[in-house]
């Protein structure tokens, strides 16, 4: 099983969610996060005083899927989240050892 984690621009969340639903993904987790990459932060000015805001807001999307589906999920996210601009984010895949559905106690692929 694989955990696909994507950091994307907040306004792309709906597009990514719709794209994942189209390829049959049954669930995902979303969180609002902050950070910086090549985009760095931005500058704000209050009464003439400049403040460098180091972290920009992003959305983190996490999806747990089977081995075979992971590549399709990554492709769908990348396609939906891309604007071609700096700051579009990253997607990475990690292997997970175990997964349990809390309600039934099912394990492994059955829990997906």
């Amino acid at each position: 099983m694989k955990l696909v984690t994507a950091i994307v621009k907040p306004f792309k969340l709906d597009d990514v969610k719709n794209a994942l639903e189209l390829i049959g993904i049954a669930g995902l987790t979303v969180s609002e996060v902050q950070g910086f990459g090549r985009q760095r932060g931005h500058t704000e000015v209050y009464r003439g005083a400049e403040y460098q805001v180091d972290f920009v807001p992003k959305v983190r999307i996490e999806v747990v899927v089977g081995e075979i589906e992971a590549a399709r999920v990554v492709d769908a996210i990348v396609e939906a989240a891309s604007t071609g601009q700096i700051g579009d984010g990253k997607v990475w895949v990690t292997t997970i050892d175990e997964i349990v559905r809390v309600r039934t106690g099912e394990r492994g692929a059955d829990a997906l």
Binding site: E44, V45, Y46, R47, G48, E50, Y51
Partner: protein, 444 residues
């Protein structure tokens, strides 16, 4: 015989001016970080509470009692506790009840004290602030109000030196309120020192909509401040009202244009600040200039104040919310420009330099402004230093980092937690309360 129209307007104006202090609390409160919003607002509400009482006890008498010498101070015993003022003493046609005037002037004293608090955001002990507020009002504001607002009368009452001897024009308090509070703010910012991280850390306003609401309430209340200072529902009040409208608009435009040219963006904080800068500058001048003169005064104030707020970073004093840049600079602009832009067509009836009046009014304006500036600065510095050395004015450094609201008031401005971290509602037992008081969490 009471003039009911005038009385209704002055009582209404007084209530409008009172609303300015909660408005100021919002204006200032939104500008600080979320961890100190309550303390910022409490300094205004503390002034409301304390100065109301002091004004009734002896403040009014020091400001408007018969002069005890040289135009410096009213007799504190004459109207102690407002004695003798409850009867209807208005004899001539068109009089105001004495207590209507007492109330109108009370709210001026309150907001002048509250204005100073913007210079010492995030770092002053609340108890020390309250002690300061009481001493400052007594030693600085009440006497200076006497200098500026207490006029001699035909009935033999003797008032203050700026109003009657120097003859500087200050219709609603450019000197007594704004230069006074601005100079005091500068002195107090120097006494308390810079906030931890000043000039390095981002100390962004945590809630600009609050700042905008506050600026709106200030503008609304300011019509009472300026037009009410006519002390009658008459033409002078109407002229002051229009000048208060248009100078404020011009100042806001001026501030926004400076920001657009200098920083690339016109900001909401700039608009709110421009509103206040314009209101400050038109305060002394609103009955002395034409509406066109008011536009000039507003525009000059908006531009100069927008440039002056950056001085604290260059000169290294932490006037946190720009009491100096807005109130001292704006007050000086409005008070001194009277010397240039006053016109005999306006209710004050004096011509300034640009209207053929020469420099006669100009030097009076400059002397009045500087006198209040110097006295307020020196007296405030001494009072502040005395408090700092005895009871301590500033909170501990670690408490400043934690946030003054939880440390000094045991409250938080906002509770965003929707889970269990909000805590329980069980009342503290006596023992638990004592323990809590001994922890670092509660230290007044």
């Amino acid at each position: 015989m009471v003039n009911t129209g005038d009385t209704a307007w002055i009582l209404t104006s007084a209530a409008l001016v009172l609303l300015m202090t909660p408005g100021l609390a919002l204006f200032y409160g939104g500008m600080v970080r979320a961890k100190s919003v309550l303390n910022m607002m409490m300094m205004s509400f503390g002034a409301l509470a304390l100065i109301s009482v002091l004004w009734v006890l002896y403040g009014y008498s020091v400001a408007f009692g018969n002069d005890v010498g040289l135009g410096l101070l009213g007799d504190p015993t004459e109207f102690f506790g407002l004695k003798g003022l409850m009867e209807d003493v208005t004899t001539e046609e068109g009089g105001l009840p004495a207590l209507a005037f007492v109330g109108f002037q009370a709210v001026f004293a309150i907001i002048t004290v509250a204005l100073i608090s913007g210079a010492i955001a995030d770092r002053a002990k609340f108890g020390a602030w309250m002690v300061f507020a009481g001493i400052w009002a007594t030693v600085v504001y009440f006497p200076i109000a006497h200098w500026v607002f207490d006029f001699d009368t035909d009935a033999g009452h003797v008032g203050g030196w700026i109003a009657n001897d120097l003859l500087a024009l200050d219709f609603a308090g450019g000197t007594a309120v704004h230069i006074n509070a601005g100079a005091a703010g500068l002195a107090l910012a120097l006494v308390l020192g810079k906030r931890r991280g000043f000039g390095r850390e981002a100390m962004r306003p945590h809630n600009l909509p609050l700042v905008m609401i506050g600026a709106g309430l200030l503008w609304f209340g300011w019509f009472g401040f300026n037009a009410g200072s006519a002390l009658a529902a008459n033409n002078t009040a109407a002229v002051a009202w229009i000048n208060t409208l248009v100078a404020t608009g011009a100042a806001t435009l001026g501030w926004l244009v400076v920001e657009k040219l200098r920083d690339g963006h016109s900001t909401s904080l700039g608009a709110a600040s421009g509103v206040v800068a314009g209101l400050v500058a038109i305060t002394p001048s609103c009955a002395a200039v034409s509406p066109i003169g008011a536009i000039v005064i507003g525009a000059v104030a908006g531009v100069l104040c927008a440039m002056a707020v950056g001085l604290k970073y260059k000169l290294g004093y932490d006037d946190s919310l720009d009491v100096v840049g807005v109130h001292l600079v704006g007050g000086l602009v409005g008070t001194i420009l009277i010397g240039f832009l006053a016109t005999a067509d306006a209710p004050a009836g004096v011509d300034g330099l640009f209207y053929g009046g020469g420099v006669d009014q100009l030097w009076r304006q400059v002397v009045g402004a500087l006198a209040v500036l110097v006295v307020s600065f020196v007296a405030t510095y001494l009072i502040g230093t005395a408090i700092q050395r005895t009871m301590g004015f500033r909170i501990e450094e670690q408490d400043e980092v934690t946030g003054i609201d939880t440390v000094v008031h045991a409250e938080s401005g906002y509770d965003y937690a929707s889970l269990g971290s909000s805590g329980s509602t069980a009342p503290l037992s006596g023992q638990a309360r004592a323990e809590a008081r001994n922890t670092e969490g509660i230290r007044a």
